[in-house]
Symmetry: C2
Subunit: 348 residues, 2 copies
């Protein structure tokens, strides 16, 4: 009987609250929090349970980090870049314009310095963060008119999140950042904005954007691979038994891969539906891509001057980025290219 008190200590009954920054209706991105909760419960026979709340149910989407820091909730499932106004370092946690794609984001977080450096920063905010989802490269958004030149973008009002809004501003766009999922359709419909970026085909189709805007642009150069984080109140995380920390780590790794898999399975059919509804797919022109790339680099230079943690973490990511895209253009890129050519030729 000596063993039983030890066992009870190792597997205590704990119930946590996790606020999501997403509505339940977006099963892909909201589903990540549900994956985490299900895994943690399964792995502990229900001793450790996490109750998931959708955005606004107990905490508004944009206050998720504050609520975790303050311990109002134990955890959040959210995008770090939603909090870039508090400190631009938050933006690096999700993705930067012209940053890493989903796969290279994982590489930097799991085996590069990403997770270590970002957690040094999150610790200053009273939090610990773990990768817990990714959308892949997002689409470049919905435009009511065709956009070919930089002039076409001048004065355009666009709903766009994170630092991307600041980049867009540098080339003359008027960005609006804080339009939540449920208000995006209305804003575009009423003309509060002329263009909207949200995620990609599957999520966008649910918002009904294809009914109002007939041009759907790519790529979403500001979100080449948007990481979704699980944030934990640092004190509560530190108070967990080590085995519960390990189980949460496994849960987040599973949620991370599973979310991207969901997008990659659901997006193709959604894309076909969108095209069937009369939407035109358009790549951003080279002129626009290059101007945005330069504007982004200018922004990073400015931020590095004024913010030490941004400077240090950004420099580490860029060092990896140079190497990563060197390697990816050999086998990965030539393999994918060949397969896409066969796809277009109807030979797969």
């Amino acid at each position: 009987t000596l063993a039983s008190p030890a066992l009870a200590q190792e597997y205590p009954k704990i119930t946590w609250k996790m606020t999501s920054s997403f509505p339940k209706s977006l099963d892909t991105i909201y589903g990540g929090a549900e994956d985490i909760a299900a895994h943690v419960s399964d792995a502990t026979n229900g001793n450790f349970t996490i109750q998931v709340y959708e955005a606004g149910e107990i905490v508004p989407a944009a206050q998720a980090a504050d609520a975790v820091s303050a311990g109002t909730v134990d955890a959040a499932h959210t995008c770090s870049y939603y909090f870039a106004d508090k400190d631009p370092t938050y933006a690096i946690g999700t993705t930067l314009p012209f940053g890493l794609n989903a796969r290279l984001t994982n590489a930097w977080f799991y085996q590069g310095n990403g997770n270590k450096l970002m957690n040094e920063f999150y610790a200053t905010q009273g939090m610990l963060g773990l990768p817990a989802g990714n959308t892949g490269a997002q689409m470049g958004g919905w435009f009511r008119k065709e956009i070919n030149t930089l002039d076409d973008l001048k004065g355009l009002k666009m709903r766009i999140a994170g630092l991307a809004g600041k980049v867009m501003q540098k080339i003359g766009v008027a960005p609006l950042q804080d339009i939540a999922a449920n208000d995006v359709y209305g804003a575009l419909d009423k003309g509060t904005v002329d263009a909207v970026e949200w995620v990609g085909p599957y999520d966008d189709l649910k918002l009904g954007l294809q009914k109002i805007a007939k041009f759907y642009y790519y790529p979403g150069w500001w979100e080449g691979g948007a990481l979704v984080h699980a944030f934990f109140n640092l004190e509560k995380w530190s108070g967990l038994p080590k085995n519960y920390q390990a189980i949460l780590t496994g849960a987040c790794a599973f949620a991370n891969t599973n979310m991207l898999a969901k997008y990659d399975v659901k997006n193709p059919q959604a894309l076909k539906d969108i095209v069937q509804q009369g939407v035109t797919l358009r790549p951003f022109s080279q002129e626009i891509m290059e101007a945005c790339f330069q504007a982004a680099n200018g922004l990073y230079a400015d931020l590095s001057k004024s913010n030490d943690s941004f400077k240090r973490i950004y420099a580490d990511q860029v060092a990896y980025k140079k190497d990563a895209y060197l390697w990816m253009q050999l086998s990965e890129y030539t393999f994918d290219t060949f397969m896409m050519i066969q796809q277009r030729a109807g030979k797969l």
Copy 2:
């Protein structure tokens, strides 16, 4: 005190043996099994431990599946396609020539029918399988002379694994499949083979292949994203408490992502080292790629005639593949392309 016997049942002391099909020296691919063992131990406070053995220590690499089926070991960390001679359906579990890349492999396994269908097959072999690692797109291998045309490949003796050997045979190559990691260098050095494919820069550099063969080709069209499996003896898996099954699932998900991250962080520097040692990088010519693609499709048509489980699972994967590469060529591909152009221009 009523709770304690229940707790002891839920967290029983179990020790399992897992045989790896890889040598310890390949920390990337061998490391996947170590990741699984570490996570399972951490998540159960050492109550569930997995002892990992390198290839040949208790089971030869090529007999890992048989040992799991027979229950000689509880688990293996291996590539399903090593066992394609038993049944070609095994090949689909890892990757097929001109199959899915690493990311789309995850999509098919986690959210498509991949895991479900492959486990219906593995159940007939007395096993359950979980994705537990990926190498990404491999390189096309080391050649002692330049290969430009199909004629250059005629009669060439090549170490090449899985169904790829059968594809190569169709275009005149003499494939040798069963040369293990430790014998690859010697076989190329002595001229037993004229060419060798192994994995990619980091692993290949360890084998020293750059000292003998001066042409390093890409892409490894036969391994656009090679999945590494954890196999579990089906009876032993079914006998585990549900929470241990969940913990193993989390462990494998972590190992899956972490292995690819290791490759993506370690390969760039290894590639630079290889080039500095005087190796020439070469893409396979369009002529060779297309002939191999046709030969592969011919092989799949043959196998589908003679093997029902291959036919059924292959058809499901192809249906997904058509959709997947349709979607991937929009945002993902154009984003990656733009970033690679900036990389080559030295602008990242």
